[in-house]
């Protein structure tokens, strides 16, 4: 997902930890100043940080098309969508900061590769149809994961998710709207739409992460209610929801094994190539280098602005004190 393969710390057996778990089991929200196991804090910083980084880096593949949107209206919509993603990153960073990590530390960990962001944003967006497919599939997959996270145990995280979820449905619908236009357009446009689906289908399935059936990390995170469903559950839900939408568009999901399974009441489908997934996580995806370089450049180029505005604010403060 936006937070993939987040390593979970283990908990301890202290009386405090047991009382803490009881609060979570009772459905109470944990707030910043409440006692929490060090592992819970650490795991959450990792997960919320990775989630925030994904929102921020996720602006790049879409920002790529803002200047080339086919109409002024599409351009304004895409701009608003990308601006929302910046907002999502900011809600999540400020949530993570309540755990005692600073914004700059989080940023630095992204920039030097110590922290990850979602694998999906290391794929290129080659045509305008990709803007449709990203909104439809990538935001669609994100919604699958984010809706249950509105009930996560950590208060600031849950509240950030509520805000984010309110905005995500616009993202997915504007994407699907682009897909409808393209799929019902000229044969060349329909081909572009199909091509976008072909390229983004499996990377979207990878967003949920590999099967976590036997992962102890997920088990602990689920106990702490910072992970609400297994990766396989969410992936299945996503496929079941998305396949009929592809059919409506008259497009073909690029999976020959895809078949409705009456017994389980869901589709059988092919797993993505997990070797490819691990390569992308390691930094060897098609756009890893480009994405990190873009974030580093933005950070470095913005330094004089950050410093200049702080200096100006301090100067004003001194002048104000002198005038009083």
């Amino acid at each position: 997902m936006y937070a993939q393969m987040v390593k979970s710390e283990s908990t301890d057996e202290s009386a405090e930890a047991i009382a803490f778990q009881a609060r979570i089991d009772a459905g109470e929200k944990i707030e910043p100043k409440d006692w929490m196991p060090a592992g819970y804090r650490k795991t959450l910083i990792r997960q919320m940080g990775q989630h925030a980084h994904s929102e921020i880096v996720g602006q790049l593949p879409e920002g790529n098309w803002i200047t080339r949107a086919p109409t002024l209206e599409r351009k304004a919509i895409l701009l608003a969508k990308v601006q929302d993603e910046a907002g999502h990153g900011l809600y999540l960073y400020c949530g993570a900061e309540t755990l005692g990590v600073t914004r700059d530390e989080l940023t630095e960990m992204l920039l030097d590769g110590r922290m990850k962001y979602s694998s999906i944003f290391n794929y290129p967006t080659l045509t305008w149809a990709d803007m449709g497919a990203v909104g439809w599939l990538v935001d669609g997959a994100a919604i699958m994961n984010q809706v249950p996270l509105q009930r996560t145990s950590y208060g600031p995280y849950a509240r950030a998710m509520v805000r984010i979820c309110k905005e995500e449905s616009f993202h997915q619908r504007q994407g699907y709207d682009i897909m409808m236009k393209m799929a019902n357009g000229t044969p060349a446009q329909k081909k572009m739409a199909q091509d976008a689906l072909n390229r983004l289908w499996f990377p979207s399935l990878m967003m949920f992460g590999p099967s976590d059936a036997e992962s102890t990390h997920s088990e602990q995170s689920m106990k702490w209610k910072i992970k609400m469903n297994t990766n396989d559950e969410l992936r299945q839900k996503f496929v079941d929801q998305t396949v009929p939408q592809a059919e409506y568009l008259g497009l073909t999901v690029p999976d020959k094994t895809l078949k409705w399974n009456d017994e389980k009441g869901g589709y059988d489908f092919a797993e993505p190539n997990w070797d490819e997934f691990f390569e992308v996580l390691k930094g060897n995806g098609p756009c890893n280098t480009e994405r990190l370089a873009a974030r580093n450049k933005a950070w470095d180029d913005g330094k004089w602005v950050r410093d200049g505005m702080m200096a100006h604010a301090e100067k004003r403060k001194i002048r104000k004190v002198a005038a009083e």
């Binding site: 809600y91 755990l99 990590v101 914004r103 700059d104 410093d307 505005m309 604010a313």
Partner: protein, 112 residues
Amino acid sequence: MSSPNSAYPETPATQTKAKRQEWPLWEVFIRGQHGMSHRHVGSLHAPDEEMAIKNARDVYTRRNEGVSIWVVEARHIAASSPSEKGPLYEPSESKVYRHPTFFDIPDEVGAM
């Protein structure tokens, strides 16, 4: 920097060099069109109050969520401590008669 009663925990991480260079943290409160009072919506970083309000406009009111914004630097907020929860709220727990339902008023009396 912040007192032990600030809204957030003070951990070693918050005292490192990164904090020094950062724009201060502001808490944002918004009152909606039909809202009765300002509500806390989140926080953001900004060099001063003017920029904090402008940033709050962009981050927290992209869909007409508000008609009024308050910002306050996070370090100026004092918060009650969760460990005092018991003693702090105990006085109100023992005074059930503060609630109107404590009193049985006969139906014949009518609305009251």
